[in-house]
């Protein structure tokens, strides 16, 4: 019974995705591929932020670490992408775990700015450590993925593989969501003190959520590297981190479906608006603002037609217990 939802999710993603892949023209397939890659990253961000409430504006740095890890191992040391991928993902996970310890003592906008600083630092290092990363010229000629001896060339074939990865990540995420670990993350965000009072080690949960998000990001980064076959520091700037967060919020935070919908919408929306000419980004910003104002629960909020519960005053937060009664 517990496997019902994850399996259904897996099936829907694969079926919908494959149908679209057969119907859409090449240019839209390219966008769909980018959406799928983003969706993998944003599902990861959902763990960190949607469940555990960690405002991470450095997510793109983890995507970049996965991408650069794979790119360096394949182009410089001749590894195959399949062996480089787990190493790059593991290295990113370890890094996330290590910086998680000092970083996750911060909360709210302090954490937001700390992760922003981290992303900017990543960008600066990637742009200037030319010996390792090629600097702003990036790394080119990243090898394609081969499955059973056959290269995944072209948008359609890569899309099928990308969908498989997305479906798998989404299924795993939804299994976690309904497990004690998912509930612990949600509890920590809802009320960290109450969570501690329920025997939950809030710090450990936050670090776990952070590492999980880094793993998903790194997987997305590897996909990106193998798909684009060329990466540069600006692919992982803090602007991308903000985009991932916007995708999650617009789609609906704490929701895997929301993560996917938001990724697709915010990848396609600038293209749909392109007919407006140079003004399209102006409108894009206004539209996103509009969604935030009118759909505070994101797009998935539209689907939830539950009657509004009576408005409860939120319990006044007691972040630091004070001298009182």
């Amino acid at each position: 019974m517990a496997m019902r939802i994850p399996l259904a999710l897996f099936a829907v993603i694969m079926v919908a995705g494959v149908l679209l892949s057969l119907v859409l023209p090449e240019y839209h397939l390219r966008l769909l591929n980018l959406s799928v890659i983003s969706a993998v990253a944003v599902i990861g961000l959902n763990f960190a932020f949607g469940y555990a409430g960690l405002i991470s504006l450095g997510h793109a740095a983890f995507v970049g670490m996965g991408a650069y890890g794979l790119a360096i191992l394949t182009t410089r040391y001749g590894w195959s992408p399949w062996s480089a991928m787990p190493v790059a993902v593991a290295a990113t996970a370890v890094f996330a775990g290590l910086i998680g310890f000092p970083l996750l003592r911060l909360k709210g906008h302090y954490l937001a700015l700390a992760t922003l600083g981290l992303n900017v630092s990543f960008y600066i290092v990637a742009s200037n450590w030319i010996a390792l990363t090629g600097g702003t010229n990036g790394i080119a000629r990243i090898p394609e993925l081969h499955i059973a001896g056959r290269a995944l060339s072209g948008e359609r074939e890569f899309l099928w593989f990308g969908l498989l990865v997305l479906a798998a990540v989404a299924a795993v995420a939804s299994i976690l969501h309904v497990s004690r670990h998912g509930r612990a993350m949600i509890a920590v965000r809802d009320d960290e003190i109450a969570a501690e009072m329920t025997g939950i080690d809030a710090t450990a949960v936050k670090i776990a959520a952070f590492v999980l998000s880094a793993i998903c990001a790194a997987i997305a980064g590897c996909l990106f590297a193998c798909h684009m076959r060329f990466i540069a520091p600006e692919d992982f700037s803090y602007a991308h981190s903000i985009t991932y967060l916007a995708m999650l919020i617009v789609g609906g935070e704490s929701s895997i479906a929301g993560a996917i919908l938001g990724s697709v919408l915010l990848t396609f929306l600038p293209e749909w608006l392109r007919f407006l000419g140079p003004a399209y980004l102006v409108l894009f910003g206004i539209l996103v603002l509009g969604i935030l104002v009118f759909l505070p629960k994101g797009i998935v909020g539209l689907a939830r037609f539950t009657p509004k519960p009576p408005k409860l005053a939120a319990p006044t937060p007691v972040p630091t217990p004070e001298a009182g009664s």
């Binding site: 405002i55 911060l106 906008h109 302090y110 140079p278 894009f284 996103v288 603002l289 935030l292 104002v293």
Partner: protein, 291 residues
């Protein structure tokens, strides 16, 4: 030694600009709780308001500056109405994303209006220099420091000696109590945004001649302003000043003495160290998470 003095003055000048941007950011944060990620674009707008009035409309200096600042004040009020009011009950993250979204709109609106080529915004003391021993100091840089100091003094007077300013501080401390005291809270909140926009405008007008006026200049400035507020102490005005000066100095001195490529890393490095070791910054209160 002469080099060092020149660098010091330049660092203080850039730092003053960052300080003004940071002060605007802190005013808005203290009064409304909003972490305004469009703070950098406000400064960019200030610079380009100057470009529009000085370069395009060719107004004489006092009128140009006055008109530019008037435009900024109007923009601040508009921002309050269109961005702050609809989002004021939303979560921290939603507001962050909202201000980022508008930041994209602002940057691209400027791009549409002015194009992507950088402009040259002249200064009233263009090209003039002052000799301090063997050091040649740009008069503009000195003027920037002077103007900033004056504005900081003006702000002190505003917040400590005027009813309006004290009202703004009241709103910043406890909005409910302020309401109960009969203060016109919405008006004071709008005023906070207008004030922040004006400060950013001044910053932009002074920064323009030191750099180039470029529609993409907003983001780097925002990052420096954030670093400044973290280092100085998040809700603190003196902190914003100290933080801004520190960031400006570390950038200019770091570029010369350590590495030009990694100069930005130095200010972020300092910011991260502060976040890890002393998140309340130099002056700030020990609150880690505002409401």
């Amino acid at each position: 030694m002469a080099d060092f003095i020149q660098l010091l003055v330049n660092g203080l000048a850039i730092g003053s600009v960052y300080a003004l941007a940071a002060i605007g950011f802190v005013i808005v944060y203290s009064a409304t709780g909003v972490v305004n990620f469009a703070a950098g674009q406000f400064v960019m707008f200030g610079t380009f308001a100057g470009v529009a009035m000085l370069v395009n409309a060719r107004l004489p200096w006092p009128f140009a500056y006055g008109a530019a600042l008037a435009v900024m004040a109007l923009f601040g009020a508009l921002f309050f109405l269109v961005v702050y009011l609809p989002l004021r009950r939303s979560s921290v993250v939603t507001i962050i994303i909202g201000t980022v979204a508008i930041s994209i709109t602002m940057q691209n609106a400027a791009l549409l209006t002015f194009g992507s080529w950088p402009f040259r915004l002249p200064s009233p003391v263009e090209g003039k220099t002052v000799a301090l021993g063997a050091a040649i100091i740009s008069t503009h840089a000195l003027a920037v420091v002077g103007v900033t100091a004056t504005m900081v003094a003006g702000l002190w007077l505003l917040f400590n000696r005027t009813t309006v300013g004290i009202g703004m501080r009241a709103v910043a401390q406890d909005i409910q109590a302020a309401r109960l005291m009969g203060l016109k809270v919405n008006r004071l909140l709008a005023l906070s945004w207008v004030l922040a926009a004006l400060l950013a405008g001044v910053a932009g007008l002074m920064l323009g001649p030191m750099w180039f006026a470029d529609v993409s200049m907003g983001d780097p400035i925002a990052l420096k302003a954030f670093a400044a507020t973290i280092i100085g102490g998040f809700g603190s005005l003196p902190g914003a000043i100290v933080g801004g000066l520190l960031v400006g100095l570390s950038e200019v001195l770091g570029a010369s003495y350590i590495s030009s490529a990694y100069k930005d890393l130095i200010s972020f490095g300092i910011m991260i160290v502060f976040l890890l070791v002393r998140p309340q910054g130099v002056f700030g209160e020990k609150i880690q998470d505002r409401g």
